[in-house]
């Protein structure tokens, strides 16, 4: 079958690329090995939290820090996209979320600090409306409510740690914790996903509100783990606020993350409604390469395997977690097209011996080098395939882990690469 644009990868960058290309009128197909890594994220769109190696404190504004980032990492994806186009892409994302009925608040101009389940903070810039009231610059008192048996959210520990930060003047609100007695979810394990499903039911929400109302003091905000519904989070959130007559916010949990899955589902549904076809779970994608062009992909190695061709391609396969990069002892490679990846020959320079060092792990910056049009280039700077564009984590020089920049980079590069790909005739 023939498409205008084929996007490889179903993470945030890939889905944004598909959306941008489809909006230009292109017929778009998304091919992916797995479900994409959105389920592994917080569901928040991080802009730029830190410039590793400079300051320990989170940046006040990703936008204002861009020039400094460019000095430190001249080839950083943000540096290639440029300020104007980053803002443009994020605006577009926010409009899209409004249309998809999953509104995001915030701006690239200022970082928000959100609480984590361990009682630390996490700088981010666009957040689902259900999390906005958790912003740590809003003073007042907060009740953190956990669910007994939910390992991913220890409310007492979180409150204690946040109060420590409060006493050091780093966060504005004061915290108190409580835990709800073990719920019966019909024998199902108490975890984020099962709770979120339970919160999709009106009766469950009513019961829940009745149970916690006496615990909540007047004027107190209520912080809950991010489990307020898998399908209708806006509805559950609004209803709880009304029933409790209090501000309510969600705190994202470790993966698999409910807010990440919500965003994935909404984006996927939106794309499919607009005629984009999405095939997930393809273990063998074999590229059909021309001398200067990519022609298509065969789904499998057999001679009767179906072949999908397109005029242009977007590579959005991510790094090691997404599966776009892989390594052997002594070698790091791009898994789909074997594009060149730059890395030090000495293996020791791949890693920082301190696992959680704030400077980040060098290997997290590895990836594919691109030119100003997001076309992968070889070591001499020559374009490899004239109709191939890269987006998201697969692009070298960005480190979403230590910079807290994953969502912003994915959206900015994905949106751009999708547009560029749709422009190929």
């Amino acid at each position: 079958m023939f498409y205008d644009v084929i996007v490889i990868g179903a993470g945030l960058a890939g889905l944004m690329a598909a959306e941008a290309a489809q909006r230009q009128g292109a017929r778009v197909l998304v091919l992916a090995r797995g479900m994409g890594s959105l389920a592994l994220t917080t569901g928040c769109i991080d802009g730029l939290g830190y410039i590793p190696g400079t300051s320990k404190a989170p940046l006040a504004s990703p936008l204002k820090a861009l020039s400094q980032l460019k000095e430190e990492h001249p080839h950083h994806p943000y540096a290639i996209v440029g300020q104007e186009r980053i803002l443009d892409a994020l605006d577009h994302f926010q409009e899209l979320c409004q249309v998809m009925d999953l509104p995001y608040t915030g701006t690239f101009k200022a970082n928000l600090l959100l609480p984590t389940p361990l009682g630390t903070y996490h700088p981010t810039c666009l957040v689902p409306e259900t999390m906005a009231q958790g912003t740590l610059s809003i003073p007042g008192s907060v009740l953190l409510l956990g669910f007994r048996g939910l390992k991913d959210f220890p409310p007492f520990l979180a409150a204690e740690n946040l109060n420590l930060l409060h006493s050091q003047g780093e966060v504005a609100p004061f915290f108190r914790a409580a835990a709800l007695d073990k719920l019966d979810l019909g024998g199902r394990a108490i975890n984020g996903l099962n709770l979120a499903q339970a919160f999709d039911s009106k009766d469950f929400r009513k019961e829940f509100a009745k149970k916690i109302k006496p615990t909540l003091r007047p004027g107190e905000r209520l912080g809950l783990p991010a489990v307020l519904g898998l399908h209708f989070p806006g509805e559950a959130w609004a209803e709880l606020r009304e029933m409790l007559n209090a501000e309510v916010f969600e705190i994202p949990l470790p993966p698999p993350s409910v807010p990440g899955i919500r965003l994935y589902r909404k984006l996927k549904m939106h794309l499919q409604e607009n005629g984009v076809r999405i095939f997930v779970g393809l273990s063998a994608l074999n590229p059909l390469k021309g001398p200067q062009n990519l022609n298509g992909f065969s789904l499998g190695r057999a001679k009767n395997s179906p072949i999908y061709r397109a005029k242009a391609f977007v590579l959005a396969t991510g790094k090691f977690v997404g599966g776009g990069l892989d390594s052997e002892r002594g070698r790091i490679f791009e898994t789909l097209l074997d594009l060149p990846v730059k890395y030090p020959k000495n293996r020791r320079e791949w890693f920082n011996p301190r696992l959680l060092n704030i400077a980040g792990q060098p290997f997290n910056r590895f990836g594919v080098e691109v030119n100003e049009h997001f076309q992968p280039v070889d070591t001499a700077g020559r374009v490899i395939y004239s109709n191939l564009f890269a987006a998201g984590g697969i692009i070298a020089h960005g480190d979403s882990m230590s910079e807290k920049s994953g969502g912003g980079v994915a959206i900015a590069t994905g949106y751009l690469a999708g547009k560029l790909a749709a422009g190929i005739k």
């Binding site: 079958m1 090995r33 797995g34 479900m35 994409g36 890594s37 389920a39 592994l40 979810l185 019909g186 024998g187 199902r188 394990a189 996903l193 099962n194 499903q197 993966p255 698999p256 899955i261 549904m269 499919q272 076809r277 095939f279 997930v280 779970g281 393809l282 273990s283 063998a284 789904l299 499998g300 057999a302 001679k303 009767n304 395997s305 179906p306 999908y308 977690v321 997404g322 599966g323």
Partner: protein, 393 residues
Amino acid sequence: MKTNIDQCIKCSICNAYCPVLKATGLFPGPKLCGPDAERFRLKGKTIPAEWLEFCDYCKICERVCPHNVRIPELHIRSRIAGKTPKPSFRDWLLGHSYLLEKLGSWGTPVSNWINRWAFFRWLLDRGLGIDHRIKMPPFHRRTFTRWFQTRKAFKGTSIAYFHGCYTNYIDPALGRDMVEVLEKNGFRVILPDQECCGLPLISNGFFAGATRLGEKNLKSLRKVVEGGIEVIFSSPSCGMTIKQEYDSILQIPGASILSEHLSEISQFLLRQHEEGKLNTRFKRISDTYYYHAPCHLRALQVGLPALDLLSLIPGLKVIELPEGCCGLAGSYGFKREKYAVAREVGEEIFQALRKRKAKVVISDCEACRMQIGSQTGVKTYHPVQILHQAYGE
């Protein structure tokens, strides 16, 4: 290729998308049941047997995994390893559904009367654990193969059709449409000797029996393929079993040669279209149908050829239903302890259909058609039957 469990990075994406885990607390989820438990099994330790039985073998976990861990294969392998109790008589019956279908078809109309008899269903429910709420499809005395034998020979390129048991005994109309659609495109259909593909036996834990059927099928299909004739199938589950499980699960020697020559029917017709050979004199169908992509079609990794194919029919709008498992999973949904789970698994699809007041659902798989039809009351068709309609016969 043996699954390397170190490929699993414990991201839990499989758990996030497992339809059974969502529906019941009795299943601990693919991650724990597959790669996690495999470490214990490799050490010779046992894990609770009922865990494995709650897997409905939809293969969604394998599909969503970013690192291609073949989780369902791990589940099946540990059952083969014999660490689970012997399957019950009920599972024997469901596994040998091809025998029951043969018998039922021979015994019509009496067998259909009995099947509809509430007391008999009550007996099956209480005595064996086959849920009384599940609708038993009626058998046909005039099977597809019998109809085929009475047909005049057609001249054209030969193509072999693996119809499977369901088409033969329960839905012979589909087989007839298949033959006529292929003839419209200049193919002469031949029916190679065939047995049940063996999937019901595999999913009920009868691996030796499945291997025996597999060997017979392999022998017969091999002869066809070596004669230069391509093989097509209309049931993705049968096709998936022959293309993938004969080699990876049953490890029948020589099975891998079939996968090159076996094609799903819509994929086959789409390829004809790409080569400019498909007869596209379709009549207009001014209607909106819904399409459910079966899990085992997705496991074949051929995309969604039926959607592309049906888009060739003028006037017809086909809307893809939310991606997910319908829940029946062959014989899984027939079991009393799993009927409710199966219904819950498919709920998102059923809801979408009810919300949109759908009348017609198209799906390639007979089990999906059965489940969706009986849970929502919509009419269900195989994509080829829609093509047949569009050809105007």
